[in-house]
Amino acid sequence: MSELSVEHLIGIKSLTESDIQLIFATADNFKQVINRPIKKVPTLRDITIANLFFENSTRTKLSFELAEKRLSADVINFSAGSSSVSKGETLVDTVNNILAMKVDMVVMRHPNPGASVFLSQRVNSRIINAGDGAHEHPTQALLDSYSIREKLGDVAGKKVVIVGDILHSRVAMSNIFCLQKMGAEVMVCGPKTLLPKYIDKMGVKVETDLKKALNWCDVANMLRIQMERLDISYFPSLREYTMQFGLTAQILKELKKPITIMHPGPINRGVEISSAIADSEQAIILDQVENGVAVRMAILYLLAQKIDRPQ
């Protein structure tokens, strides 16, 4: 395998295991590149990429922009707040206007699930989904699995628990697909109200007791409570959530074996994870950020290979 089986990166669901392996192998090379004195390669110098963020993002946007620049691509940025979207323009029109300026690839984040697949069927460009509503966030899942592979040697056979707001989380959804394709066992853990009703049909274990979940797992991926997405009250108070599902040094000390702690960011210190744990040796949160750039470089590189050759 030296080529992806897909034309766009819409979600992990449409990738095969060998696609993911290829992305990881390519990311290994780019990780080496970004740790050199000169952190850039000239590969994508004839490619222009538009980053369209219809929803706020700091980490993902910076990570993509850096990945694009490290590959020598030209980059244009767009944020919905300061655009004509507020003047009533449709998504397809906005994107086609940008593509008319000769843009080859589009990285898009959008609050509506399915926005990227909608776009990929209607415009002539490579689309990379940087998060669409509560649907998928494929690059985050890939960098999470990549970080597990880096830390523990392999993803296959590992036990991973995803803790927190599974209901509103695109990170959880993509992570479940990705981990299962790579042969890991997945458990979700959180208050009943924040676990989707039929989640067990995806082949994941469901647990509402954090201690039991942590005793079972090798890796715990702590998600943030997305207050901005909680339309009704799903739990009595944030304090009560922390008491039941917050990760503290005390809980970790009582476990039988040391586990690896992950967090996709942004962290709410003292809510889902205590400060001491977030800064501890067990947490690979900042490795995840570093790997994010390498994994995104790999995805951009592999998808750019599929753009029609210049005449």
Binding site: N29, R36, V41, L44, Q305, I307, R309
Partner: protein
């Protein structure tokens, strides 16, 4: 497709020995020299050269590395099949060093051009030389000439020169493949 062996096992070994003496003549104790192989095929030749150098002068410890040129190629999106990257292994600083790039077959010179670009991203060497086992003369696309040449081969564009290694293909030899015109 017809093939014929142009250099056999004995010839390969003899030529590597000669290349080693040439290297020693120019670089003496290799104290300021790094030998860098082009991934993936150059590494086989470099391994052989190092083994032979040790045989000739056991107290010699030449520094080595390997460089992958995938992200520096000028045929990205122009070739027929995508290329998979190999590992770059550059443990030594090349700043102010003498570099010898090592590859098996020199043809258009485009790989060497990419390798030089890749190399310069690691620092500023004082000198860069090129060692190849096979030099397909008259077929260059770029003004690149090797300092150390194992053997010069005159061939047609439609022909293919493939170097095999014992470690990989089970035999040391150089073969010339002729693709028959229909």
């Amino acid at each position: 497709m017809q093939s014929r062996t142009i250099i056999d096992n004995k010839g390969v070994n003899l030529t590597i020995t000669r290349l080693c003496y040439q290297l020693i003549e120019n670089h003496q104790d290799f104290s300021n020299t790094i030998l860098i192989a082009l991934q993936p095929r150059g590494t086989f030749l470099l391994d052989r050269i190092i083994a032979k150098l040790k045989e000739i002068k056991p107290d010699l410890y030449p520094k080595t590395g390997s460089i992958d040129i995938t992200f520096y190629r000028d045929d990205f999106r122009r070739g027929n099949s995508p290329i998979v990257a190999s590992r770059t292994n550059m443990e030594h600083s090349i700043e102010g060093r003498r570099i010898v790039l090592v590859d098996d077959v020199l043809y258009t010179g485009r790989s060497v051009r990419s390798a030089m670009d890749a190399l310069l991203d690691f620092g500023r060497p004082i000198q860069v030389e090129l060692l190849v086992f096979i030099d397909r003369r008259f077929k260059r696309h770029l003004p690149i000439q090797p300092e150390y040449v194992g053997s010069r081969v005159d061939s047609l564009n439609s022909e293919r020169v493939i170097m095999s290694w014992d470690e990989k293909e089970g035999k040391d030899e150089v073969q010339l493949y002729t693709i028959e015109e229909k």
